[in-house]
Symmetry: D2
Subunit: 357 residues, 4 copies
């Protein structure tokens, strides 16, 4: 028996993103996690059991295989779809697309991840950019970690009338830690085979008028991306003006080399020190003391925690599709307070949300 | 104002070990964390502030430097020493030794870490091996992560009269994640320059009668050690006999490749999935399905989470020195229940502690 | 037109091993490299063209594809088989087995690599152990890099009547440099899922009476393996006795930490400094100043350059199968002088071969 | 006894750069390597002995220490300075500056490396940019690997009147392979603490009128840098125009992903396959099939083999300072033919130098 006024949420795919969305849904006062669907039979899904999350078989025919492996399976995804309002599809790239028809038939609103194409739902979502346009839609796609970081940083400059064009170089992590015992790269850097890389055009699915080009490479590490940007501005500004704009923008946080936060691993450590679940960072972390303004140009670098940055966006997308909260800023406020998304890593919690978005 | 019946604890050095011991002390019903002392001025100590842990200057002359860097400093280590019963010294190797006299003068019992020499306190501590011999002592030394893993696994076999000799090869992590932006190794393996390596003799500081030899190398990863052991037994046994001995031993947990736990990174992911603080694993994790018995020989491999494995031992050492709990098994039970040290990663919590130690 | 008194050699598979064997064949006074067969169309095979090595299509149907990619293809493997005495099959694991019938039909003697099973040819080859038993056979299998290192070091101790049993832990490289932009491991160690690992039993295909058990793990580096061994001896010996045995053994070289050769990468650098082709090390390099004797036990560690160590063995196998040199020591002498396999990395060349094998 | 018409060269510092310059000097028909000076006592200097290169003590007081370690030392650097025309100082950063006075007193022309400041010699050298301005000078500084790559690629576009401004992101290797058993970074990326990074301004020491800004980070690999560039052009051009300019430029080579050269490690492997000493690449390798033109913008990425790229420049600098060859293009032709610097990795050697520079 669930409270009728809570949004009933299902997650399909209890992997890197799915398990984090599950955690986040459980922290929201207006949502109920009804269950997760998967086909795994190993420690990953056994952890869901351990955390008392009801597990369903994502492919009905696999249910016996899962049970034989010792997984307590409550039912199939078809059962689960009949119980929920929204499904978050966090299955591997391209699997989501194949699932869409099933969700539609069940009358369940659907949120896909950035591995799917924009054309799947014709709507790509970043809360701070276009929450309102997702209100009441049947489906949306939360863009990838890299695109989310790009939109979060470029949007406020665009809104301030400053952004002429943006050129970015993205140094990506090669693979996620959980699967780094196979499929990784070693002692090398792998440039993407095309310039522009797909992230720039992808940001235009959220903000069509952006003049943005990206180039990307995979480097030999497993956690978080580092983005470098060269922006051409419409007018000369002071460095402090840019800092102020970023400071007012939700889900961006400044970090400083002078605080000992000198590299990607430093921030990963800080997140653990702050007691965050899984050591996650949902914010894009901009190096304040590296950011530089030079005439009409702005240069900066920030860190994208690829496993986690889209989690708050996904939570907002749930509210947007179901229409329970009409105002994007209000949804973001609820999400961020309950997840403990911060505005500053070192200011006490009770002061974090004083600033008006 | 602190309850008189709680043990008042100070930690000197809020680094990799110190911050974890701080977390653990705060979780114990019979301990109070009075404060931490350090000389850092960066994000590491600012996190302690953020978590409302009182910060003291470990070197009185540095207090202004810390304040100028924005750290709220309550006082100096001398102030702190006057307020506590026990100090856990988690300063870098060899710094601890120099501090001992100060602690002694202040009449504060002291726990050192494995980086210090056995001769410093003439007592080296692993809870399951020699808790009782530390009762009421002024000081002890909690042995290193590698030695702790070694003692936890060899002791029960020794107690069962099975162990003739043990030969181990230790594949160590090269550096800790927080400092992996400098001082690491890359794309290589570095053998220790001496055989036997120091870990074998170090285990003998806890159990003098062990016949143990170790060899060690650093490999190109940052988290957790992998130990391989070849044991010669006094009699032929069944594989199941060995499993049963390990199953009954606290702070050892079995993991299985067949559960998808196939490498060091898998277990690191599992710890995060289980919601553990900092993703820590306090248990030594033995691969159940790799362990093999061949006549008089036993082969096995286990994982040592070097940043965390000594934390429960340190908590027990606090009780042993202060003498508040006379029985080692009882102290271990309290520690493990409050830290949530597990006997099995997949069994529900309420069943974890049913087994008698 | 080729000299009739030279052995006509073909290589199938111009990859990590094949290209090195090609280099080595070209350096032998008694061998002619007639051509290499492959199906690659990329830089790897274009390099063979660049070095004026005739290229043949390993799968006749692929010949057009190769030509279209710009590779000058002289003919198919069938053409090549009609021109040679011996084929070295350096194709990927299990492909070799499927080729054997073709070689047999063509009346060409065949050498397979360690990826194939012993049962394929019923003979597994390490020159110093069993050259003579391969004389005149139709086929043999040069054992893997790890097994070659194992046999080279254990055989002389076995011959001296010293070896009772050998227990090894092998820290393997995860993937080869050329393919480390995919398929590698990152920031982890991966234990093999079975103990004993296959290398111990594999050494018994060469020396059946060895009492040898191995355990193995992949670590996060791309070049060379590190082996640790614990040997139980039949009698107490002096450390110098062991050194002397190894010193007299071909294809073993001592290195010293005190010479700055402190890790796997040091030796890789030294090989480049010595001007070796591809920076290869054909010798197993034993750390002299780490090797230790303790009563009836011997401990030592050595480095196996996995890409190259089997190359001299393969050259010897060519002579053994064709029967052109009856004495293994003589074949090894020819191979080693022409490849510049060394007895000591720092002694001038003209003194290297003074020692009698 | 040396031919009077050869330039007598000494190298101070037989490390990563020094040993490569030594190799290169020995290959030049118009140069004699008289000796190398160093203070090392380990395998690095023993390799020089092994290669019959006379070794001198770089610090006279260290001569006994070197001899005691088994190094054959011919004399001190003072002896060596009296025998040579030019010294190449390849000592660690900042050590070179301290040596300059000694070289000047000895009347020996001096070449420093990019670790020294421009102000040391007031001349920074890249052969294709400013050979002639170094003619007859007492000293110059060959710029760093990154700056050399930058100048080689931007100069021809500048000369063609196309370059308006250049913005680069440099993904650097963290440490060199020989020292990667200490001092490296692991599983992280380390952004430089300042934007602009020093490489952009450093290129202006060679070509003052360049409008160039760089940002840089160290990634977790040991070999070669990857540069990404965004160039604003003075006019719209066709992609082929750019390719043609680069094709005509010496010491630039195109590589293609479609040839299997997909990442930094691929090219490292190719160099070994081509039989190059130490697997070195002296050319900057531009990915032809990634380079892209978009209106007034040009994007491209290339690889800089940091250990080797400055070697041909250093050889040219020797000729420039001594004035034996007046024409930079002629010096580059001699250097490149003798080192086998290529214009195309797959075209046969005899066709490589047909193109007029």
């Amino acid at each position: 028996m669930y409270y009728n006024n809570k949004i009933k949420v299902e997650i399909n795919g209890y992997g890197v993103i799915g398990k984090r969305v599950a955690d986040a849904v459980m922290l929201q006062p207006d949502m109920d996690l009804i269950g997760v669907a998967d086909i795994a039979t190993d420690y990953r899904i056994k952890t869901a059991m351990r955390l008392d999350i009801p597990v369903f078989s994502a492919i009905p025919a696999r249910i016996d295989e899962m049970k034989n492996a010792g997984v307590t399976v409550v039912g199939t995804i078809d059962d689960l779809l009949s119980m929920v309002d929204v499904i978050v599809d966090a299955t591997p790239k391209n699997v989501g697309a194949a699932n869409f028809e099933k969700y539609r038939s069940a009358g369940v609103k659907a949120i896909f991840q950035g591995g799917e194409k924009h054309s799947l739902t014709d709507h790509s979502f970043v809360a701070q950019a276009n929450y309102e346009s997702a209100l009441g839609r049947d489906a949306t796609r939360v863009v990838s970690c890299n695109t989310t970081g790009t939109v979060r940083t470029l949007k406020p400059l665009q809104d301030a009338g400053l952004l002429k064009k943006a050129r970015g170089v993205l140094i990506r992590r090669a693979t996620d830690p959980w699967e780094s015992d196979h499929g990784g790269i070693m002692n090398t850097v792998v440039p993407e085979r095309r310039i522009p890389s797909h992230q720039g055009p992808d940001a235009q699915t959220v903000i069509p008028e952006l003049d943005v080009v990206t180039m990307a490479a995979k480097a030999s590490h497993t956690q978080t991306h580092l983005h470098y940007w060269i922006l051409e501005l419409n007018q000369q500004v002071e460095r402090e003006d840019i800092l102020e704009i970023f400071r007012r923008t939700p889900r961006l946080v400044f970090i400083k080399s002078s605080d000992g936060l000198t590299a990607l691993n430093s921030t990963v450590e800080l997140m653990k020190d702050l007691g965050r679940p899984r050591g996650d960072m949902w914010e894009a972390a901009i190096w304040e003391d590296i950011l530089s303004v030079n005439g009409y140009e702005l240069y900066f670098t920030y860190q994208v925690f690829n496993e986690a940055i889209v989690v708050p966006e996904t939570i907002d997308a749930i509210r947007a599709l179901t229409g329970t909260v009409k105002d994007g800023a209000e949804s973001m406020r609820i999400t961020d307070e309950n997840l403990m998304v911060l505005r500053d890593f070192f200011i006490p919690d009770n002061l974090q949300y004083a600033t008006q978005f």
